[in-house]
């Protein structure tokens, strides 16, 4: 699933891998859409393993042969298309919310709360997480989470780039993604990231000070014992000192 997701994000274009429009078909797009939506409904009800191509055909109100014509790769191809579609929807929703923001605090609150809301309100994803966690959880740890962080970071960086320079935007995008993943994978009592007020508190308390800390003069704080110097920060970051933004709180 995740592989499809990442290819989609990295490719971003309409040439998602699963897209193979059958020749000589009168109106192929609605069939694909019906099949993808049908599959999504089936997964929400009975999970990935429990969904057969017959179920998908029934939900899409077409024949099995029609499904195969639209998706010659069969169930795997349908699943890929479902993941691609849902990942696109997810990022579109994120883009709309983040695009409306007027300062760095808002853009973070919008992105993080929208991401949490989309993920936790997703019926099919919820079903899979409850009953087939092995399909999703591997993407939330180790090297695969690094890939997810990189893909999400690539998509969201430009939205932060309206308020921060590029290097800083990348760093903050990855950090914010990491925070959302952590609270979604392991919910904390009293912290509900689908509630923008909770996210705002988290952002004000822990994230904005971290953005400011990097812009403040390195070495202003005492270095930790045993570390020779904090004065030389990571050159990739130091090369781009950030400007404090208009949305900055005290």
């Amino acid at each position: 699933m995740g592989a499809a997701r990442l290819e989609l994000v990295q490719g971003t274009g309409p040439d998602a891998p699963a897209r193979r429009i059958p020749a000589a078909s009168s109106d192929p797009t609605p069939t694909r859409v019906r099949v993808i939506d049908g599959a999504l409904h089936c997964i929400a009800r009975q999970g990935v393993a429990g969904t057969t191509l017959d179920d998908v055909a029934r939900a899409a109100r077409c024949s099995r042969a029609t499904v195969y014509r639209a998706f010659p790769g069969g169930k795997d191809a349908v699943l890929r298309a479902v993941v691609d579609t849902e990942v696109s929807r997810f990022f579109s929703a994120l883009a709309v919310r983040m695009g409306e923001a007027v300062d760095i605090e808002d853009v973070l609150v919008a992105g993080m709360s929208e991401a949490a809301t989309e993920v936790s309100g997703h019926a099919a994803l919820g079903q899979v997480l409850r009953h087939e966690p092995e399909l999703v959880l591997p993407w939330l740890a180790f090297g695969r989470l690094d890939e997810v962080l990189a893909a999400t970071c690539a998509f969201t960086t430009p939205f932060l780039g309206r308020f921060l320079d590029t290097a800083e935007s990348k760093r903050v995008a990855e950090w914010a993604t990491r925070i959302v993943v952590s609270y979604l994978a392991c919910p904390a009592t009293g912290v509900d990231l689908t509630d923008p007020a909770h996210v705002r508190q988290l952002v004000r308390q822990f994230v904005l000070p971290g953005i400011r800390a990097l812009s403040s003069r390195p070495g202003a704080r005492r270095p930790a014992a045993g570390v020779s110097s904090v004065a030389r920060v990571d050159p990739a970051f130091a090369a781009h000192p950030i400007e404090t933004t208009k949305g900055d709180v005290s």
């Binding site: 966690p133 092995e134 399909l135 959880l137 591997p138 939330l140 740890a141 180790f142 090297g143 695969r144 989470l145 690094d146 962080l149 990189a150 970071c153 990348k170 760093r171 990855e174 950090w175 990491r178 925070i179 993943v181 952590s182 609270y183 994978a185 392991c186 904390a188 009293g190 912290v191 308390q205 822990f206 994230v207 904005l208 000070p209 971290g210 953005i211 400011r212 800390a213 990097l214 390195p218 704080r221 005492r222 270095p223 930790a224 014992a225 045993g226 570390v227 020779s228 110097s229 904090v230 030389r232 920060v233 990571d234 990739a236 970051f237």
Partner: protein, 195 residues
């Protein structure tokens, strides 16, 4: 200790099997043979059979890992030092852990759900360990100590598992990471960090 004897022996034997064949292919029979015990004895200690045995092995190794991490950061005299040493040590330990690396590569679908259960339990433990350091350092205005500890524990686990663009082998990067993405909003500015 004598009560723990066979259990420990079974765990070690199972771990040896996992190292050789992976999680999915290790059976109760393999573990019993490796431990030089009967299947019945293994079932006496692990009535849930294979599933319980594999969960127990992951739990045991996980605790060993965090036990070593705990030893490593024990002598630290400041919050920064705990976090910096912890991150560097844990990341190195993950990379050098051959069995973990192999299983992570070949059976993430089996391993990661088990590790997720463990890591969700660990957030609270790491948080509790950090609380005294937070008190010692002094918190930023309006920050609740338990919330701060929870936040730091999550971030710690996240970076250890997936450092993203950070190079946790580089002390300077780690110092920057701890200063900005972990402590900036948590501790009082000009706190008693360096005691």
């Amino acid at each position: 200790m004598s009560v723990d004897g066979p259990r420990q022996r079974i765990l070690e034997a199972t771990y040896a099997c996992v190292a050789r064949w992976g999680l999915s292919k290790t059976t109760v029979e393999d573990a019993a043979r490796q431990a030089g015990l009967s299947r019945a004895t293994v079932y006496r200690y692990f009535p849930g059979g294979r599933d319980e045995l594999l969960d127990a092995v992951v739990s045991w190794q996980y605790l060993l890992f965090f036990g070593r991490l705990y030893e490593e950061v024990q002598g630290s005299c400041s919050l920064q030092e705990v976090l910096e040493r912890g991150l560097m040590f844990a990341r190195r330990a993950v990379l050098e852990h051959e069995v973990l690396q192999t299983v992570m590569e070949t059976e993430p679908d089996v391993l990661v759900p088990k590790l997720t259960v463990e890591s969700n339990r660990t957030v609270g433990l790491i948080g509790a360990f950090l609380v005294p350091y937070l008190h010692q350092h002094g918190l930023a205005d309006g920050v609740d100590v338990n919330r701060a500890a929870d936040f730091l524990a999550r971030m710690l686990l996240s970076y250890i598992s997936s450092p993203g663009h950070w190079d946790l082998g580089d002390a300077e990067q780690v110092a920057t990471l701890v200063r900005t993405e972990m402590l900036a909003g948590v501790v009082a500015h000009g706190g008693r960090g360096g005691t």
